[in-house]
């Protein structure tokens, strides 16, 4: 089965390394290693090195991938290419498994903990790394990312970099010969850059200006905020609080909790295919981790179950959470992401299954309208989904499986108790908690979470097409159709 390349950064498909290097700068804003950005005066020496590291493709085996390749500043440090998962590896032909999350505001994430019985925080989408620094070092030695064989291979490349002396000045000469310490230093420097770099947390959205009293929201945006907050309508604020929490002085639009929401399976991810192949050259992918403990009756060989696997905490991370592979209530749960800059970070969810915010909201407010998981006695076709359901089988037909990106045995873990998961209407039956106009208003509000609003020059506020009404109608289904 072929996999569409249209959603993937086009430069990544080119086999010629030279061509890749030439185009990468325009794909995801990766700046390459040749001309690292100048040191920012406001950064500490460690963070300044971190800035170099963040943008340096020379530390990857391919020579073409840095953090910035998948975490583009212009897209709130999420991927710029619109692909569900990034490509990496020695030849930049190996697809990853999860959508690259935005790193903006990531430094506010607390370490993994169980607060009032609820798992909270940790790094990566499954919370398996104990700190930003622990998270930042791992892509350097991940086979389908920067692909270094081990820390020694990273150190070998690092020694040749012009900023290595700066790192040595901070950590001492030992990192010359200690690969583990060198890799740890890399993680700490990048984490320092993410903490100190103003671009990672500018709090300069129109919403921030609104709360500061320097801007007003349009009636539509204000209506969208009200729907966002209303526990009977969007109820978004339940997991994406619009009020500030204990994590920061500003609202972060995430409470860092975990939730199993049962998003549709994304067949555009190679690992989800019956026979995983590289979308670049069609080669068989042999590194797809298989969960040996999938429950009986699972329809597919591979599922991304978040904290339950397939990715376990690194053995080198002693402070990481325990392996939750056997905790079925956490299977399929992912950490709630911030909604700041969400208009810039498509596609959405851990598997990038939805390409637009409208699709996301439409799915949220109608998710269970066609099924009965105990909250819907009168299933009916989903009015917001072409064909009546967002859950599609590999061939594009309606999937008979509920929450088809989870083994059937884990469906019980899906959150069905909260709005907007379509509670029964007063007169019986069920209808979406938001009308089409209300969805538009909610999306308009979500767009106000985009950084870069200048109250003195509101006309210069740059927003993506979806926010300005120029988005395609159903990118989700278009992408699915292209996959076949």
């Amino acid at each position: 089965m072929g996999v569409s390349l249209d959603g993937i950064c086009r430069s990544a498909r080119l086999p010629a390394r030279v061509a890749l290097a030439a185009i990468l700068a325009g794909c995801g804003g990766a700046s390459g290693s040749r001309e690292p950005p100048p040191l920012a005066r406001t950064l500490s020496p460690l963070a300044a090195v971190g800035e170099f590291l963040f943008h340096d493709t020379a530390l990857s085996v391919s020579g073409q991938q840095s953090c910035a390749t998948c975490h583009d500043k212009a897209h709130a440090f999420a991927a710029a290419d619109g692909a569900p998962v990034p490509l990496g590896g020695p030849l930049m032909n190996l697809p990853g498994f999860r959508n690259a999350p935005s790193l903006a505001y990531a430094s506010f994430t607390p370490g993994f903990d169980v607060i009032d019985g609820a798992p909270t925080g940790g790094f990566f989408r499954d919370g398996r790394a104990s700190s930003l620094a622990r998270q930042a070092r791992l892509p350097f030695v991940t086979p389908f990312e920067m692909a270094n064989a081990d820390a020694a291979a990273v150190l070998a490349r690092l020694r040749a970099r012009p900023y290595f002396g700066d790192l040595e000045a901070i950590y001492g000469a030992d990192i010359q010969s200690d690969p583990d310490q060198a890799l740890a230093a890399i993680g700490e420097a990048i984490a320092a850059y993410e903490r100190e770099g103003p671009a990672f947390h500018p709090f300069s959205s129109k919403f921030d200006a609104f709360t500061a009293g320097t801007a007003t929201l349009t009636p539509t945006e204000l209506k969208g905020l009200a729907l966002f907050n209303n526990p009977g309508k969007g109820n978004c604020t339940a997991c994406h609080p619009s009020q500030r929490q204990e994590f920061a002085d500003y609202a972060l639009f995430t409470d860092f909790s975990f939730d199993t929401i049962g998003v549709p399976r994304n067949w555009a991810i190679a690992a989800n295919a019956p026979v995983p192949r590289s979308p670049v050259d069609g080669s068989l992918l042999t590194y797809t981790p298989l969960e040996p403990t999938l429950p009986a009756g699972s329809a597919y060989a591979y599922y991304d179950l978040g904290p339950c696997g397939p990715f376990a905490p690194a053995a080198s991370d002693p402070a990481a959470r325990v392996d939750l592979a056997h905790l079925s209530t956490m299977c399929g749960a992912f950490k709630v992401p911030t909604l700041r800059n969400v208009a810039l970070t498509a596609p959405y969810f851990h598997n990038g299954v939805f390409a637009t915010l409208r699709e996301v909201v439409r799915w949220y407010v109608t998710r269970d309208i066609a099924v009965n998981q105990g909250n819907n006695p009168d299933p009916q076709l989903n009015p917001y989904a072409p064909g009546g359901t967002f859950y599609l089988a590999a061939d594009g037909s309606a999937d008979a499986l509920l929450y088809n990106d989870l083994p059937l045995a884990f469906d019980a873990a899906v959150n069905i108790g909260e709005v907007p998961y379509t509670p029964p209407a007063k007169d019986g039956g069920q209808s979406p908690t938001l009308t089409s106009d209300e969805i538009d208003a909610l999306v308009a509000f979500l767009c106000t979470l985009t950084d870069g609003f200048d109250p003195d020059h509101p006309e210069a506020y740059a927003l993506p097409a979806e926010c300005t009404g120029r988005a395609a109608g159903s990118a989700f289904h278009a992408a699915i159709a292209r996959a076949h």
Partner: protein, 476 residues
């Protein structure tokens, strides 16, 4: 009725009376015996009670005279000079125990929402133990410790609380000062919330939701008692804290009448601090005036005002503005010929809420700028004569409104069926913040200190709150 020449505080009065009334016990026993004899005419009973009271008054006079004589002989006490260890040392002697007082009260109930029987609950609502100590004839200490809901642990909803912890010092025969954590002198119930002192299984809504009983603050208070029956309290205390205001309750903060009382959803319930690491940025003041100069009558009012700790604004935002909380109430109680009539009106206001509310559109729980409530209650305290027992029927009408006006944004109450919790299938209506409540019931006094209660409450707006309650209360 002539008041004692030396005014005493409420707690002191209770303890002093406890110590002094011992000589009157015989009189009380006679009274009880009389009550246990075959029914006499109401005139005879009245005469017997008058005699009892006269005996008790004589005993009080005698004890007062003895105390005054002792004080005349003793050197003036110096509170400041009293060693901190004095109570402990005194407690080891017989004299020390005399200075120590212990008391308690508690209540348990069964509540049965008649429309939602699955939400019936039984609870040992509170068990309270009091400890007092009389340092000298002018200085006393009183405290109460409360366990709510039977079990207080990290995994239970129960709490262990210090409800009162204060010192009184008599400055003059008519004036005293109080310091510590003490009950606010508002309404009829807050300072007299023992279950034997109010009608109905649960406290009335006005003095739970508008006046947040059991309402206590930390600070100072000056109390003056005039011979004419006029008393005045003037205090400076901690105040309200709105910094933790919950604009985003995902589920209704209460689903029945019991939760309405207990879940802290009302404005001042949600913002009073109970001297638990209280933010003391803004002192609040209060003034309470009561008149008890006519037999059976108590009439008064109180005013509380102070700036609350504000809802925090974004770091780059201008300050929210002063959020002043003002609460006032008027109350009256008239007890005559067995009839017990009560009325309370209470009104609260919070200033400068518009900015904060505007920043949270769509919230089902913006901060109200005004809230109020009132009730009228009639009871027949003498009630039915059942030998040594007493049955006092009552009826109460009350109205409460937790948000009679809002600035900036009105509450966005979800319509229709909404989840009441994260439990799948747990759906219901989001309750309204105002209601008219009729309560019909009776207190059955086994002794004056032990009461069984029964009542039925109907709610005009939140009809599913209608309930039947059964309670047991005691105080000693």
């Amino acid at each position: 009725m002539k008041r004692p020449s030396v005014p005493v505080t409420r707690q002191r009065a209770r303890h002093l009376a406890r110590a002094l009334l011992a000589p009157a016990a015989l009189g009380f026993a006679v009274s009880a015996l009389a009550a246990a004899t075959p029914p006499a005419s109401s005139e005879q009973r009245l005469e017997q009670r008058v005699e009892d009271l006269a005996e008790q008054l004589d005993a009080l006079k005698a004890e007062l005279a003895r105390l005054q004589a002792e004080r005349a002989l003793a050197p003036p006490a110096s509170v400041a000079a009293a060693p901190a260890a004095a109570p402990v040392a005194a407690g080891t002697s017989a004299a020390g125990f005399e200075k120590l007082s212990l008391w308690g009260y508690g209540e348990a109930y069964l509540t049965h929402p008649t429309h939602v029987s699955g939400e019936s609950q039984a609870d040992l609502a509170r068990a309270v133990f009091g400890i007092g100590y009389q340092f000298d004839d002018r200085t006393s200490f009183n405290s109460e410790y409360e366990i709510e809901h039977a079990v207080a642990s990290s995994g239970d909803v129960g709490e262990m609380e210090v409800e009162q912890f204060f010192l009184d010092h008599q400055l003059t025969p008519w004036g005293s000062v109080r310091a510590g954590l003490f009950l606010m002198p508002f309404g009829l119930l807050n300072e007299h919330h023992e279950p034997t002192n109010f009608y109905g299984v649960q406290r009335n809504f006005v003095e739970t939701l508008i006046l947040p009983s059991t309402w206590r603050e930390g600070g100072f208070e000056f109390n003056a008692h005039g011979v004419s029956g006029l008393s005045v309290s003037l205090g400076l205390t901690t105040g309200m804290n709105l910094a933790g205001w919950d604009y985003a309750p995902e589920f209704p903060p209460y689903r029945n009448a019991l939760e309405l009382e207990n879940n802290g959803a009302a404005p001042l319930q949600a913002s009073h601090q109970e001297l638990s690491l209280a933010n003391a940025q803004h002192p609040s003041g209060h003034l309470a005036i009561n008149y008890t100069g006519l037999p059976g009558l108590k009439v008064g009012g109180a005013l509380f005002s102070g700036n609350a700790v504000e809802v925090p604004s974004a770091p780059n935002a201008p300050p929210t503005g002063t959020m002043r909380v003002t609460l006032w109430e008027g109350h009256a109680r008239w007890q005559m010929s067995g009839v017990d009539l009560s009325a309370v009106y209470a009104h609260g206001a919070i200033g400068n809420t518009a900015g904060s509310n505007l920043a949270n559109p769509g919230s089902p729980n913006p901060i109200p700028s005004a809230f109020y409530g009132y009730y009228l209650q009639a009871a027949y305290a003498d009630g039915l004569n059942l030998g040594r027992y007493r049955l006092a029927p009552f009826v109460r009408y009350e109205y409460y409104n937790l948000g009679s006006s809002y600035a900036g944004a009105a509450p966005a109450i979800p319509a229709g069926s909404v989840p009441l919790s994260a439990t799948p299938g747990d759906y219901g209506l989001w309750p309204k913040g105002q209601d008219r409540v009729w309560t019909l019931g009776a207190n059955f006094y086994v002794t004056p200190n032990v009461v069984l209660k029964l009542d039925y409450q109907t709610f005009d707006v939140n009809r599913d709150f209608t309930r039947f309650d059964l309670g047991l209360g005691l105080a000693f």
